[in-house]
Amino acid sequence: MNPKRKQRLLLVLFIVFGVSIAVGLTMYALSQNINLFYSPKQIVAGEAPVDTRIRAGGMVVDGSVKRDPNSLAVSFDMTDYESTVTVQYTGILPDLFREGQGIVAQGKMDSSGIFQAVEVLAKHDENYMPPEVAEALEAAGKMPQPEAEVFNK
Amino acid sequence: MSFDSFSDFLAMGGHGLYVWLSYGIALAVIVINLVGPVMARKQLLADLLRRLRREGNN
């Protein structure tokens, strides 16, 4: 390869790797801010700021959903299989909200350790299937659950 | 067929607006990316031909 071309090739490689390293270091430094939500483990460990609006994500614990018969108030527990946080929310839940599925809530931790949510979003996984397949899996108890690491990076 | 009738097909179980809007935008993007260059080519050939004729007459 002639020397000028080699020089330009080196320039190209330098740009790509230089920028990658710079960006990589920045991402590492900011990683906590790049996460969209705190996991229950982080909240229980006190890593999430109290009294500020944050997002928390986890899987809705089976049997934990309690709805108030007279209003839209609802409470449920969310877990990352290591810790569990109780969430209270007043409003319409997304269509895909159900036990055994993931959610991402926005709100504040109150002084009693309950997450007061102002918004609840459904976080679905990448398992798509037709209704018949889903019914069969549910009946056999083999419905895929979201993995812990989805909430705990 | 996943649908029992044409009106079911259009309604998409209540999600009709979302689905048809998405497919509509996709169609628009595909058409723009095909019609655009084809029309540009016609224009370009016409321009170049005109210039060629003009130079031929000088």
Partner: protein, 252 residues
């Protein structure tokens, strides 16, 4: 002083000839047009009418057949643009510059399609049009990079300096591609993990997955058609003084 030993295959240097490239693309075009029409036509019909709905998402799931191909294509197009730009920079190959220039507007519209369909799909499923999670944000950055390349190119007078500047910009932004891809693995995001990987079995049955494959290939074929059309226009414009172009015009 016979130092110019060619260590790349012959076709690489052949492609450097604008005339060869023009004629080669001209021969390929009809095949890709037919392939695109068949694949996109069959894929769309399959996606809308025959594929089953999802047990959770119902029929809004069908948006996947537009969103996933568009997202994959938007990233592939960027990689092609960056590589073509690098080749143009290193080998001073004008055809490579023309390919890079042609990729940008197509990639921008495909990125818009991916973002729009994602937002439209997100509303009934997640409950939000948009969140600033790593996946969505990095895809938006991709769109801005495309727009930046287009803007930068049009701002420069000489085609050659424009090609150099936009190639550097494309290379600087190249790190965004692995960020997009791994965003759902490295950080907590609302966007779910990958549907479509080359290495693992997809987490969906064949009847849902096959039409997706058809649409992805169909979109690639459509992209090839659009790219070849644009590159041929670029070649005609830049080589307008060449003899072979005059002959072509006179025949038209």
């Amino acid at each position: 002083m016979a130092e110019n030993k060619k260590w790349l295959p012959r076709w690489f240097y052949q492609m450097a000839s604008p005339r060869w490239c023009y004629e080669f693309c001209g021969r390929l075009l009809p095949w890709f047009v037919v392939a695109a029409v068949l694949l996109l036509g069959a894929g769309t019909a399959w996606a809308l009418a025959w594929a089953p709905a999802d047990y959770q998402q119902g029929n809004s799931f069908r948006i996947i057949y537009i969103h996933v191909p568009a997202a994959i294509l938007a990233q592939s197009c960027y990689m092609l643009m960056a590589v073509a730009g690098a080749i143009g920079l290193i080998w001073k190959m004008k055809v490579a510059d023309m390919v890079a220039k042609s990729c940008a507007p197509i990639g921008a519209t495909i990125a818009v399609l991916a973002l729009a369909t994602g937002a439209i799909w997100g509303k009934p499923t997640w409950g939000a049009w948009w969140v600033w999670d790593a996946r969505l944000t990095s895809m938006l950055v991709l769109l801005f990079l495309y727009l930046g390349v287009i803007a930068l190119h049009s701002a420069m007078e000489s085609e050659n300096t424009a090609a150099q500047a936009t190639s550097v910009l494309a290379l600087v932004g190249l790190v965004n591609i692995p960020i997009i891809k791994y965003s759902v693995e490295w950080w907590n995001t609302l966007h779910q993990p990958a549907t479509f990987t080359l290495t693992e079995k997809p987490a969906m049955p064949m009847e849902m997955w096959l039409p997706l494959l058809v649409m992805v290939i169909g979109f690639y074929c459509f992209f090839s058609v659009s790219l070849m059309l644009r590159v041929r226009n670029e070649i005609l414009h830049r080589e307008r003084r060449a003899g072979w172009v005059r002959t072509l015009l006179e025949k038209a």
